[in-house]
Every structure is written in C-alpha cells, then in structure tokens.
C-alpha cells in the first residue's frame, strides 16, 4: 500500500532504459503513476490535474542527468514542483504591532483548534512572549473548560466568560483584560463551524471587524479528503486566511489536503500538529510534506526529531556505528531511552521510506514496563555480550534471564527486537544523517 513512488516509477521506466531525454510519450505512464499517488494522498482532483500539466511542461525535453535514472529524474521534478507550490517565504506568524497582538483560530468541528491554540501559546511563552487565551466557543459542551484546563496546564492566563456572554463580547472583554494584564499576544479560539453556515460566519466576521486580528489562522485536519478545497476556499473567501495549521500529522495520512488548501487559498502552511501532547507542534517544511504526499517517507523529520532528542555527539557516534554496522546492545539500550523522548518506535519507523506499513510492526512496541525489563536484561549481560550478541548462547541466555529476573523467552524476544532494529537502521545509512539543518524557530 505504501510502496514509494520512486519504486513504481522505476518499474515504469525499466522498459525505457537507454532513453536520453524525457519525452511526451515516455513520461506519460510515469505521470499516470504520479497522478495516482497524489489522488491516493487526497489531493483534490482539479489540483492534481493542474499539477500534472505543469510537471509535464517542465519534464518534457529535459535531459536525464547522468547521475540519475529517468525515474529519479521525474520524482525530482515532481518533488521540486510540490515544494515550490507549498513553499513560501512567509511561514512565520506576524507578531508585530501594538500589544496585545490578536490571533484568531478558525476551522471545522474537531479539527483540533483548541489543542492547537494551547500548543501555540506554549511555544510563544517559551519564546518570551506573554500570551493570553480566550475561547469564543459558547456552543460546544465544555469547550471553554477544555481551553481553561489546557491554559492552566501551560500556566498561561485566560479569560473566563460569564454566563450568557456572546462570542463578540467575550473577545472584546478578553482584549481589554489582556491589555490590563500586560499580555502581548491574544489567542482567540473560536467554535467549530461549517464553512457555509452563514450565521456563524457572520459571527466570525464581526469579531474580525471589532478586534481585528493580526492573523486569522485556519486549522485543518491533515486527514481531510477532497472536501479540503471547499472548506479552505469558503473560509478564505469569507474571512481572508493568513495562514494554515495542519493537525493530526502524527498519523499515517499522506496529507494531500495541504496541497489542495495551499492551491485554493494561496495561504502558507505555518505549523503542523504532531501529537496529542501540548509540545507536539512543529514548523512546516514543504520539502518533507512533498515527500510525504508522494509516499516517500519522511526521513528528514525523523532525523530532526532524532537530533532534538539526541545530543550532537551521540548522534555523530550513532551515525558512525550505523554506517559500520556496529550498533551494539549497549547502544540499543541507549537508543531505547532516547527514542522515548521522540515518541514511539513504530511512529519513527513509519517515517522511513518503504517501511510505512510493514507487517508485524507491533513487535517493536515497547511499553513503559517493557523498557524497564529490557534495561534489566541488558544490564545482566557481560560487556563482551553487549558488544557482540553472537556469543550469547543458550547457557548465557539462561544466566541473563536469572540475573534480570526475567525468562529466557524475554531475553530471546529482546535479541530479536535488537536484530530487527539493527536491520532497520542499516537501511537508513545513506549518509543523510549529516548536514540537516535544525528546525528554525518560526516566529518573527
């Protein structure tokens, strides 16, 4: 299901070996594969159509570079075009102006607005700003409570609406309060609404007129299908969108909605939500998103997450070890600890191209308790055993099991997991581990 586009294209081009130039005929089939990939990723039909035409225009006549196969060449062009389409200089949230600078968050029901507001507030706070939060959602049961719980969790001040207050009134009072308390950024969470709901859209327009927000950010679910264009277009036509935040990117959705939304609104995608935890928000990287939409995995994000969790020296060391296939049990234990800082192991493995949906991934699953066991097992090994797993025979396994208070089966399982991890890691030793820029904090 997740075979990469490059693989498919390689097949297409196999019979074309020896062609020096990409021609109308020989890329026809390749473009059909590209089209499939984009449609499977939920990019809107029309957007795909236009995109394919622009790629065709660019690709025909292009010399196949000596270093690349025709398949790689097409992927490169497609990838570049996607990056150009989704990229923008303007990916920062503008925060200049008189404090408190208001930011308004809009979107459909259940796209993750409230969680996103809290995540951004936390980011802003970490960046030295003084945010103030308010929920103008008087409709959904317990929406206000949700924002308050999150606000308390990140220790950010918030406005507590009174019974019966209207959304506009709530926003005005919140703005006054933010001034009085010396806050410099006002984050306004709004109620989820359908994009053609006139009454609720009027409400947003009123808030926009009275407050007016420095930026209006559309929060959209990365799993959204073809309807993403209608949603984005509607919100943009009626309110004017300054940016997009794509949520639930930690799943396995290919996120074609990103391209659709960008194509119909022209607004940049500024952030992505990558988990339920309050710190799970990242800057948007068009190149990674392009790779993901094409089903090419997300190696760059994987590496960056690894970088923030590992310290530089250890990463270098790990890289060397992976290259030399010297990844020992000692390292394995180390990695397991560090990996927990990055999220689940399966999540990480899924970012590796081609491994998106490997069966039996569940065996990598390490629960919190499992990990304690693993440490105990590895600690019960001798230094030689940790360096060279090959010497661990039946007798040694028994001793290790006794020493760690586990069973031989546990030891066997651990060794299996270690070997599989080692195999996986060796697949990514393509030299990409170096020279990846760290995520730049995306606020001006």
């Amino acid at each position: 299901m997740f075979e990469s586009l490059t693989d498919k294209l390689s097949l297409v081009f196999k019979k074309l070996r020896g062609h020096g130039k990409l021609t109308e005929q020989n890329i026809q089939e390749a473009l059909r594969e590209v089209r499939m990939a984009l449609l499977e990723a939920d990019v809107h039909f029309r957007v795909v159509k236009d995109f394919i035409e622009s790629v065709r225009g660019r690709a025909v006549g292009e010399e196949v570079m000596a270093s690349l196969t025709p398949a790689q060449q097409v992927v490169k062009i497609v990838h570049q075009e996607l990056v150009t389409l989704m990229g923008s200089e303007n990916r920062q949230i503008r925060l200049s102006g008189n404090p408190p600078v208001p930011l308004m968050f809009v979107g459909l029901h259940g796209c993750g607005k409230t969680t996103t507001v809290a995540k951004l507030a936390r980011l802003l706070k970490g960046n030295g700003r003084v945010p103030y939060m308010v929920s103008a959602d008087v409709y959904r049961p317990a929406a206000v409570e949700q924002l308050h719980t999150l606000a308390s969790q990140i220790e950010v001040d918030f406005y507590e609406p009174h019974q019966g207050e209207e959304p506009l009134e709530i926003c005005k009072k919140a703005q006054d309060n933010a001034v009085r308390r010396g806050c410099d950024t006002l984050l306004i969470d709004t109620a989820g609404r359908l994009h053609f709901d006139e009454i609720l859209m009027d409400e947003l327009r009123e808030i926009k007129r009275v407050i007016p927000p420095k930026e209006i950010l559309l929060v959209a679910d990365a799993m959204t299908g073809q309807d993403a264009v209608n949603i984005a277009k509607s919100f943009n036509d009626q309110l004017g969108i300054d940016g997009v935040i794509l949520t639930k990117m930690d799943g396995d959705a290919r996120g074609g909605a990103a391209l659709s939304i960008r194509a119909v609104t022209g607004s940049p995608i500024k952030f992505i939500g990558v988990g339920e935890k309050i710190e799970a928000i990242e800057a948007f990287h068009p190149d990674r998103m392009a790779a993901r939409i094409l089903g090419m995995g997300d190696v760059l994000s994987l590496i960056e997450r690894a970088q923030t969790a590992f310290d530089e020296k250890k990463a270098k060391e790990l890289e060397r070890k992976i290259r030399k296939a010297e990844f020992t049990l000692e390292d394995f234990k180390d990695q397991l600890r560090q990996i927990r800082k990055m999220g689940s192991l399966e999540g990480l493995l899924q970012m590796i191209p081609g491994l998106g949906k490997v069966k039996g991934m569940g065996s990598f699953h390490m629960a919190e308790k499992e990990l304690v066991k693993v440490e105990a097992i590895i600690n019960s090994m001798t230094p030689q055993e940790r360096r060279n797993h090959n010497i661990i025979n039946g007798k040694r396994r028994l001793r290790i099991a006794r020493g760690s208070g586990t069973t031989v089966q546990d030891v066997n399982r651990l060794l299996r997991q270690y070997l599989m991890t080692r195999k996986m890691l060796s697949k990514m030793k393509t030299g990409r581990l170096t020279g990846v820029p760290r995520g730049v904090f995306p606020f001006s």
Binding site: M36, L39, E40, A41, D42, H44, F45, R46, L108, H109, G110, C111, G112, Y139, R140, P141, A142, A143, E145, Q146, L147, H148, T149, L150, Q153, L194, H195, F196, D221, M223, T224, G225, Q226, D227, A228, V229, N230, I231, K233, S234, K248, D250, G251, D252, A253, R254, G256, A257, E276, S344, E346, G347, Q350, M361, G362, H365, A367
Partner: protein, 310 residues
Amino acid sequence: MEVRPTERTGVFHRLRRGLSKTHQGLVGHLDSLFSGRGAIDQDLLDELEEFLITADLGIRTASRLLEAIQDRTKSKDCDSPEKVKEVIQREILEILKAGERPVHIDQKPFVFMVVGVNGVGKTATIGKLAKYYQNGVERIIFAAADTFRAAAIEQLEIWAHRAGAQLIKHHRGADPSAVAYDAVHASRARSADLLFIDTAGRLHTQVNLMEELKKIKRIVRREMPQAPHEVLLVLDATTGQNAIAQARLFHEALEVTGIALTKLDGTAKGGIIVAICQELGIPIHYVGVGEHLDDLHPFNAEQFIQALFA
C-alpha cells in the same frame, strides 16, 4: 424506493442542503453530466471519474466502478448517458446494501463501546444515540472512559444531561478500563437498558493507545460475557482515504461491529464508506447530519446514494 416523509425532510434534506453547496463550488452539477449528451464518450467517463474521486470514493474504487461501466457500455442495456447514471448508482447501491445492517437491541443492558480518531464526534454521537433510543422509559448510562482529553468528562456530562442519561465517571487521568468496569457493574445493578462507553480519541497508528482500547474491551467482556454488543467506530465524512486505514486498524484491534459516519451535513460526501464497505465489509449503522440531538439516523443506502448524486 421506500422513503418515509419525515425522513425525507430530515436526513435527505440536510444531506442535500450540504451537498448542493459542493456543487456550487468546484464540482459541476452531475445532472449536466448525464443529460444533454448524445453519446457515451471519453469526456463523460473522465467527468464521471472526477465526480467519483471528488466524492472521496478513492482512485481504486472509482477505477473499479468505471471499468464496470465500460464493460456494460459494450452491451445493449447501457447505451445512453442516462443509463450510465443508472448503472453506476446500481453498482454503488449493491456495495452499500451489503453494509446496511441496522443494530438490534436484544440484550439488557446493551453495551455500546464507541471508538475513533480524535475529533470525529464520538461524544456527540453518544448523546444523539441516547436520544435516538430514549423513548421515555429507557434507562441509559454513559461511561466517561475518555479520561485523557481536557474537559472530555464535562462534555459527556452535558450530553448526558441533555439526553437524560446517567453518568459514570472517574477523574481526569484515571484508568479508562476502570471506568468501563464500574460502568458495566452499575448498568447491571441499576438494570439499565443501554450503556454507552465513550473512549478517548486516538490515531489508529498509536499502538499503545490501541492496546488500551483492547484492554477496555477485554475488561468489559470479562465482566459481562457478550458485551460490548456493539463496537461502534465513528468516522468523519470529511476524512479522505485515511478513513480506510482507520477502519482497518480499528477493526484489526477490536473487531468493529459497525460504523457511524458523522458530519454529513457539511459539503463532504463521505464516499469513502463505499470503499470501506467493499474492502472491509463493516456495516454502516448510523449517519450524523447535524449538531442537534436528533441529527442521527440509521444508515439507509438508497438515501445515501440519492444524496451522493443529488
């Protein structure tokens, strides 16, 4: 086709209201696709493909349907664009009819376990389900087993109040299985008719959280054999191809017994359930068409197709 008048103004009207909006947007009106054309040509098939894909049926299902059409066009019984419309509707109906299996409440207490990814409308669906089954005498209990998300318990509490249900809750951060355990026992002790277990939204790729769900189900079954009688997966009609992955993984983990498709009052058509029905064979039990308490209805394949092609 059998359509009761109340439902016509209800579901169909709402579906249509939402769907007609789509047509004003990027998608051309389907009628103009089939009428005013003399022959079946490549253009018609291309436009049909566009229609199916923009309705989120997915490229695979769309291709399969188009192949069926192309096969038929060779024979006599499908020789005009109008016939094409008929044939394609029949093909889709055949797929969806297999998924049209209503829930029979035949146990007391009857236990629903409601699962799904974040933000699909699980809690609201429970509220509406309770309203749907509440006819004044039913004793209904909600179990607040979403102990993770901020204010999830409060949210369910408000829905419980609206729908006239009792609530079993612990505190935020409590073990959801423990809540389910208490709820099962409470439902027996209070001789409840229905028990709805609300669970925290989770992405289907999160193995630990899927394990947590399995545990909840296991505990419920241990305390009450045969329960949960329904494991209801809530899907958002706005979701694209990822809904298949959601359905597949939730099904693998929990043996989902049915689907509730929510947010059909928007402009999304929810065509993905055609693919889900075909590939996974999970029945579609309910559709959600609005924010009101009575905006939940049993799934009806004919109505769904009518709205799809409206």
